[in-house]
Structures are given as C-alpha cells and as structure tokens.
Amino acid sequence: MGAVSDNMFYTNTLVGDFQANFKKTNIENWDFKLNIGTQLIQDDSKNLNAGISGLALPGIFNLSNLTTVPSAGENISQARTIGLYGELYATYRKLGATLHVTGRRDHVSILDPGFNTFFYPSADLAIVLSDAIPAIKNNPNINLLKIRGGISNVGNVNLNPYSTEPTVGQGAGYPYNGIVSYTIGDRLVQKGLKPEFTLGTEVGFDFEVFKRVSGEFTYYVNKTKNQTLPITIASSSGYSGLLSNVGLTRGAGVEASVNVKIIERDDLRLAIGANYTYNDNKIVDLGIQDINRFALFTYGNGSGVYAANGLPFPAYFGTTHVRDSASGKVIVDPVTGLPTVNTNISYMGNTQPRHRAGVNLDVEYKNFGLRVLAEYRGGYVMYAGAGPSYDFSGAGINTVMFDRERFVFPNSVYKDPATGQYVDNTNVTIADGNVGYWTQDQRRGITENYIISGDFWKLREVSLSYNLPKSLFNNSRFFKGAAINFIGRNLIILVPKENVYATDPEYSDNANGNYLGISTLAQNPPARYYGATLSLNF
C-alpha cells in the first residue's frame, strides 16, 4: 500500500539588455530624448517527475522502496527572443506638446523560420492646450486641458515552445512488455503560425477646472488579428483540435471618469468620483475555412460559450423552444400541451459586461475616514446552470409559478388538427404541472429558460478608519501612530427580477476557466467579507 510521487521543477529566465540613452535639451525650445537598445531573453525550464505505487515496506516513503516499475516523466523547454528597439521623445516647449515614437523588432525561436521576425511600432502625441493657447492659459478657472492621441501595433507570441509541430505519442496500453506502439496526435497545427497583432488607436483628453473638478475621457478602437488558439474540429476529420491563427476581432469603447472635490477644509474633506467604461467587442471574422462559430466551453447538448462570426465575444449559444416562425410563439402539443426542444442552438447574448460604472465616495473628518465604492455591470447575459437542478428538485421559485397545477403554456400556439393552422393556445393545459413539466427535458433541456440578465449593482467596498490622536504617542518611544480600519466587501448586491437565483454574476464556474457567463452548482458560492485591521507606525 501507499504511493510516492516526486516532482522537481526548474525554471530560469535570463535577460540581457544593452541600452544607449541620448539627450539634447533646449534646442530652440525643443527637447529630445532617444533610447535605443538590444535585448536578449532566454527562458529555460525542466520538469522531472517520478512515482511508485505500492510500497515494498511500509512507512518508507522513498522512490527506491518499490515493488513495480516506477513511472517517470520529463519535460524540457527552451526559448529565445532577440529584441532591437528604439524610443524617441520630442517635446516642443512652446506648445507643451510631446511626441513619443517607439519601434521594436523581435526575433523569436518559438515560431517557424520565415514567420518568427516581426516589427511593431507605436506613436503618440499629447498637447497641453492650457499651456499652448494663451486664452486658456489666462483663464483662472481652467487649470489643465490636455488632448492626446495614439496609435500602436503590438505584436505578441502567445505560445509555448515546440507548439508548431504536431506530436506523436504512445498509444493507450503501451509500452506493453517491451513493445512500443504509437498513435498520431489528435491536435493539428496550422502551417506557419504567425504572431498576434493588435492595432490600437485612441484619442482623449484630460481636464481640471475650478481646482475642484478633474476628469478624463478616452475613445479607443482595437483590432486584433492572428490570435493563436486551439479550436475544436469535427471528430470525423480524424483529429480533435487545430492550433491556428484565428480571425479578426474588434473592440471599441470609451473610458471616462470625473472626480469632484466638494469640500476641502482642514478638518473635513469630501470627494466623490465616478467612472464609466463601455466596451463593444465583436469577432469580425474567425478566418477558419467555412466555420462560423467554434466552441470554447459546451455542455453535452451543444449549449455553451462560443466564438462566432459577427457576434460579440464570448457569445452564449443554447437550445430554444420550437416556435411558430410567423408569430414567434411557442408551439405546444395539441394533446399534452407540452413544448418541444429546438436542438439547433441559437445565439442568446454576450457574456461579458458592456457597461461598467463605478461611484466612489471619500470622506475625511478629523481622525475619521470613510470610503465607499459601488459598481455597476450591465449589458450581458449569463447561464444559470443551477436552474435545471433547482427545477428538478422543486427547490426553484419558478416551479411554483403556476402553483404546480395544470396550466396553459404562456404565449403558445398549437396546430389545429382540423385546419392545419397554428391557433393561439388558450385551453390546452399541461396535464401535470408538477413533475410532468418542471423535471422534464421540455423544461430543463431548454437553455433559454435559464438565460438571465447578468446586470447588477454592487456595494463593493466600505471602509471606515480611525487614526488615533497623535497626542497619545507623544510620550512613546516606539509608536509614532496607530490606526484602526474596518472593512467590508461585497456587502449588497442588487440584481434584476429575472435573476431569480439572486446569484452573483461575478462568481462563475471555476472548472471552465475564464469563460464568464456560466454559473453552476459546482462552483464556490459568492462570498461576503468583513475585516478589521490595526496598524501601528514605528
């Protein structure tokens, strides 16, 4: 009995930089700064593991105390990058304008020759209008007004070493008694994988007026191409996945914030701030043959998180009720009154918030401090994976919608056997409005029953602090000050009515990685946090 498993991991990153900096100041109101350099990065790692199962003698946990052939594994990797870069700052003092231009050329070992050298430039320009324009400069109410704009094209290799060639592995059950046999790996790799590139443009401004109100605004558009992702392909191709450069994605949005100092006195300070971001992202083109969507995380019936052409990312797809195409109403059986599942999945919504807003309040009164932060996320859907289980067990509030009695399926039609036409259903009831509907596939197998809005307002953090009076420490040789701080996080959450599960959309199923928008019974429940800290200054 007993087992031993040992794992040793070694990782090392070596960075060599050579940099030269040049500076020229005040040449006819121009300042110049130039940095150029080369960089060499080498990443090494080695992982060794060995294990035995079944100890020869009890109590000696050592790999040599074995009765069977030990298991062993090894993984080595090495990657190098050679970078060559330059960066120029040019400032024109008269306009308060700064131009910043960068360029970098990387040569990486991870990609195939011919695709492994890439150049990425960027440029941005900022002009302080409150310095450049005398009318603004002389206006006492405008303290700062700055406009800025930038454009960049950033390259990135998001791959592990040796990913560019498919591998061959020992088949299941091998090696067997000194005999080896192999199977062709299940993952294909696109020939000539390229680095990812993100082209970003942005414009914006910063301001401060009346010495009280400050803020900023930015509008941006990003386009990313050649993202390197493993995608799932039809099993009948003989393979299960393909590592490839996929598509073109576009994200556009705004970021804005305003801060107002309402009261500024020695013993009382009060400030509020608000911020808002809007992000509208979209997959313009997946760029994989004739594939219109591919699955990132799905359940058995195909519902789940997808990346799809022309839709926001990530997109939730799921099953729906079979509907009458003319009226859009659910078709029910003329005898049983039950709807049917349309197993062709359709788009349900995006699972990442489009709107994010935050409000914060800062108050300082004498020795007391109060900070409050509230946030809003909205414009997205989530799949309540616990819903089908609640419906099955009868624990879900939805199941008492019709008092578990017979009911006419709302907003439904049935095919009149006499005329062959769809007529509004007012009298065909579901015979068993209890387990006959709520536990059935016609309820639980339909994703749209469990798609809810992910919107919420949340009181994310409240903290109250008290600084002990300085006079207490006048006689102390060790302590210079002390503060007590009470903090609470995730205190109140407000969700729309349709979120009957009242679950916190920020907590998603961990098992499916970062694909937001899925909550299940298997995840950690949302947590509320209270704490107190005492800090002492020496």
């Binding site: 090495q78 190098r80 061959v168 299941a172 059950g173 009948s236 004739d290 058995g300």
Partner: protein
Amino acid sequence: MNTNKNRIYVLLMLTSIVVFSASCKKFMDINKNPNSPTGTVEESFLLGKAIVAWSRTYPAADSYGGEMSGSIANPGGVSGFAALINYNFGPGDYGFWWGLYDNITDLNAIIARGNADESYKNYAGIARIIKAVHFQALVDAYNNVPYSAANKGIENMTLSMIMALIFIKISLH
C-alpha cells in the same frame, strides 16, 4: 555631453547587433521538440496500437448495443441524466464516434504507406480489414456517416455527410 563616450556606446551596440545577427540562425534554431516525437513515426509502429484501440472500443460497443436494446440494464440504477436515457449522445459517449475516427487516422497512414511501398502490404491488409469493421460499426450505429470526406484532417474540419456505397468502396480500395 561626452561625444567620445557616445561614439563608444554606438560602436558597442552596432557590434552586438552584428554579432547577434550573424549567429542568429543557429542560435535561434532551437525549436525542435525534445519531449516527444513530432510529425510522424515509422508506420509499422502504429499497427499495434490500432489493433489494441479496436479491442478497447468493442466492449463499449457491446454496452451501447446491449443498453440501447434493453438487454443490459444500467448498473448505475435509475439515472435520468445518462446520455442513453436522454438520447443525447455526444461524440465521446461509448468511445464510439470519436474513438473510431481517431483510430482510422492511424489506419489510413498505414494503408497509405502500403500503397506506396510493397513491403508494407501485409500491414496495409490488416489495417484495411480493421477500417472496414470500423465503418461497419459506425454505419450500424449512426446510419449515414462521413466516409470519403472523413479523416482529411486540416482539409475538411467540418462534418460533411458524403456517403457512398460504403462496402463497395472499401473492397475496391
């Protein structure tokens, strides 16, 4: 500003660039996988696994047939969630769809080698028989299945039902 110093820096940098680019090719050619074989292996090494995979799939096929026809009861008791009860089969259930197409990839490699190389024709003969039995099983279970468009890897990654008179085709191959 010390111009001489600057000149030395620039010189050093240029030297390092030249040194790097000269030694680049070998220095950067380190992406050969040291952990597992890549590309393909000698086709004879594939046959053993293909036979084993075949024998590993068929107990599952036995359960599939038995449970579907009701001659085997579900040993897990009553479970409303099983694929079998819901008729909600995925590609991985019973190792049937995916397991067989996966194995056909290896069989095709052996057959292709047999077509090109006379000394491999015995390997290819065995592979053909297993492939025929695999398609027989697939057709038994699913009726029409991808055949001539299947196992094309990167050339056909979407499921398309190009179905031919399958047994005739296999015997002609």
